[in-house]
């Protein structure tokens, strides 16, 4: 149907300004869509990555807040029992046989690593001021395997922990507040009132304020010592999987085997994931609105074109063009507008995304970035062009169909 294409082309070129305006509508819509989606998913990916690198895929701990069955319920299951505001008894948070459990988990082929640790709330003494924070006793080499700690060191070495008995690797935000640098000593007070002096052998920066501002790492034995616990005292096991999306199923499995609470990252970061979903909904709804506006533009312009081409349509139909041919002529025009507009939109979107990725951005204390994170995933460009062409096809179809059903006699005789 080359004649249809050539008529469509002539119509488009006969009014270049009008065609260009219609095209720019689509271009702008798609461009903004690509730029917004790229930025939003860039941010989402960035924060997700941060959370992922600093939190385990599965976190195993003893959950003492789980509701406990009162003894009277066990003794008298048939009766009506009243137990008013029960409280947990003084129960140790210790995971029994933690090292053996970690070893067993490591043998699973889906598991990248399992690191036992114990953590405690502590106060960091800064002159007369006490700063709240926590300290994690870890096997530093295993921790490095899981969270790639050595790449996040801002000063000192992780190996410093192995050679120093009372060593400490401190979060960068905390170190800054306490005005400490590598080699300095800091006094730490535990909730039980024990005070101990530790030496800063390294400073790390995860990039997330909620970690960098409160956490320190020390050897397991050091933390056991300041808490006054035995050498088997472990409160947490952190597990990293090869495929992090298996975490949910794996956590259930681990919990049923070992009887300790196993929490997967999706549950632990539910608020963050909900935020990502809401951001995506906003991005797509704004983009779709832009495209609908562009679609109305195309609808209007095509309607106007068809109105001004009534005589031409009549003559085409009189000389043997069927309704579908006439519809084809105008449909081709809207698809060309849509396709060219979308491709230009992708280019615009890429340029905008690129400029955004260069824009300096200070994440402050919350996240450590110096420019906006932007995703350049080709998928968004594919979605963009499909959206663009689809919208113009829908917007163009109605006026094109109408053009196909113009009655030539009415036009020819109406003159």
């Amino acid at each position: 149907m080359r004649v249809i294409l050539s008529i469509a082309k002539t119509h488009l070129l006969a009014k270049p300004k009008q065609s260009l305006v219609a095209m720019l509508g689509v271009t702008f819509g798609i461009g903004m869509f690509v730029a917004m989606v790229s930025l939003m998913s860039g941010l989402n990916n960035f924060t997700e990555e941060l959370t992922m690198t600093s939190s385990p895929d599965i976190h195993i701990y003893k959950d003492i807040s789980e509701p406990q069955v009162a003894i009277i319920e066990q003794l008298n299951p048939e009766g009506v029992n009243f137990v008013h505001h029960p409280k947990p008894k003084n129960e140790s948070q210790k995971i029994r046989n933690a090292f053996q459990i970690a070893e067993l988990i490591r043998q699973d082929p889906d598991v990248l690593g399992a690191a036992p640790q114990l953590s405690s709330q502590v106060f960091y003494n800064f002159g007369p001021i006490q700063l709240n924070g926590n300290i994690a006793g870890v096997d530093i080499l295993e921790e490095d395997k899981l969270f790639d700690l050595s790449s996040k060191m801002k000063g000192g070495e992780i190996a410093g922990l192995l050679t120093t008995t009372n060593g400490l690797i401190m979060g960068s935000g905390l170190a800054k507040t306490l005005s400490l640098s590598v080699g300095d000593n800091v006094t730490v007070t535990t909730p039980d009132g024990v005070t101990i002096s530790l030496k800063v052998v390294g400073i790390f920066q995860m990039g997330l304020g909620e970690i960098d501002n409160i956490r320190s790492y020390a050897n397991i034995s050091t933390v056991q010592k300041i808490l006054g616990k035995d050498q088997a005292y472990i409160t947490d096991i952190n597990v990293k999987l090869i495929d992090l999306y298996q975490a949910k199923a794996k956590a259930v499995q681990i919990q049923s085997i070992f009887g300790y609470k196993a929490e997967d990252w999706e549950t632990a970061n539910a608020t963050f994931l909900a935020g990502a979903v809401i951001r995506n909904i906003m991005t797509y709804s704004v983009s779709i609105t832009l495209l609908i506006v562009a679609g109305f533009g195309i609808y209007n312009i095509l309607n106007m074109t068809i109105f001004s081409k009534m005589k031409d349509i009549a003559i085409l139909k009189a000389t043997g063009f069927a309704a579908k041919d006439v519809t084809g002529i105008f449909m081709t025009q809207s698809l060309v507008i849509g396709l060219v507009g979308s491709v230009l939109g992708l280019i615009l979107g890429f340029v905008l995304s690129y400029l955004l990725s260069l824009a300096p951005f200070d994440g402050g204390d919350v996240i450590a970035i110096d420019a906006l994170p932007v995703s350049f995933d080709p998928l968004y460009y594919v979605i963009g062009i499909v959206f663009g062409v689809f919208t113009t096809a829908v917007a163009g179809y109605m006026p094109s169909r109408k053009a196909g059903h113009v009655d030539p006699i009415e036009i020819i005789r109406g003159i």
């Binding site: 080359r2 004649v3 002539t10 031409d312 003559i315 063009f321 309704a323």
Partner: protein, 225 residues
């Protein structure tokens, strides 16, 4: 015995707006091959309505229409469009060329739609038609830049491009001065005489009608002579 190219049997047509009104009343008509026919009558007598009905563009009627022995009543609109493309050429009072195209392109479009010949040959044939009508020198001008008489001749060339058996004109000279009217008439004469094509033209022009082969006069939706 002359060959019948177009025949109608008992055609009736009604307009329903604003109220029901019979525009065509029992039209029985035979048109022979090579005939130059004029359709005359006062305004509102139904002659244009009849012509558009014969042209297959109007399908809202009762009765039977046959062209070249083929019954066209009740056929689908898309089929009729293809039929017009092959068998019927149109010349209108207001030339109706596509303004964004050159004269040559206007002539070529119905043939490009038909695709009976490759494009190079269509171009050659279109030039021949324009030459026959004496406007080959205007072939590359935009059709909107041509004078009225030239436009009408381009329109005739377009009507002829697919060698239709039937050419229909709705006041083909209605908008032309006497010189150009004479030219158009001579072309029509030549087409029927030399090429055996059939022409049915609605006209108000008495000279035009008087010089044609047969005059059909209509009054109040009936053929009266």
């Amino acid at each position: 015995m002359k060959e019948i190219i177009l025949e109608t049997k008992g055609i009736n047509k009604y307009f329903h707006e604003p109220q029901t009104f019979q525009v065509l009343n029992d039209i029985n008509l035979k048109v022979f091959k090579g005939e130059f026919l004029s359709l005359v009558g006062k305004s509102g007598c139904g002659k244009s309505t009849l012509m558009y009905l014969l042209s297959t563009m109007d399908t809202d009627y009762k009765g039977v229409l046959e062209i070249s022995g083929e019954n066209l009543t009740g056929k689908r609109a898309d089929y009729l469009a293809g039929f017009r493309n092959r068998h019927i050429g149109f010349v209108f009072q207001f030339h109706f060329l596509l303004p964004e195209f050159t004269a040559l392109q206007n002539v070529m479009i119905p043939a490009l739609k038909l695709r009976k010949y490759p494009e190079s040959q269509i171009r050659k044939r279109a030039m021949e038609k324009l030459e026959m009508l004496g406007i080959a020198d205007q072939s590359n001008k935009m059709s909107s830049k041509l004078s009225g008489g030239q436009q009408q001749r381009v329109a005739i060339a377009r009507a002829l491009i697919n060698d239709p058996a039937l050419i229909m004109g709705d006041e083909p000279t209605g908008n032309l001065d006497s010189t150009n009217s004479a030219i158009v008439f001579d072309i029509f004469r030549k087409l029927t005489r030399d090429f055996g094509q059939t022409i049915i033209a609605v006209t108000h022009d008495d000279d035009f009608a008087a010089n044609s082969d047969r005059i059909i006069e209509m009054s109040d939706g009936k053929i009266v002579g």
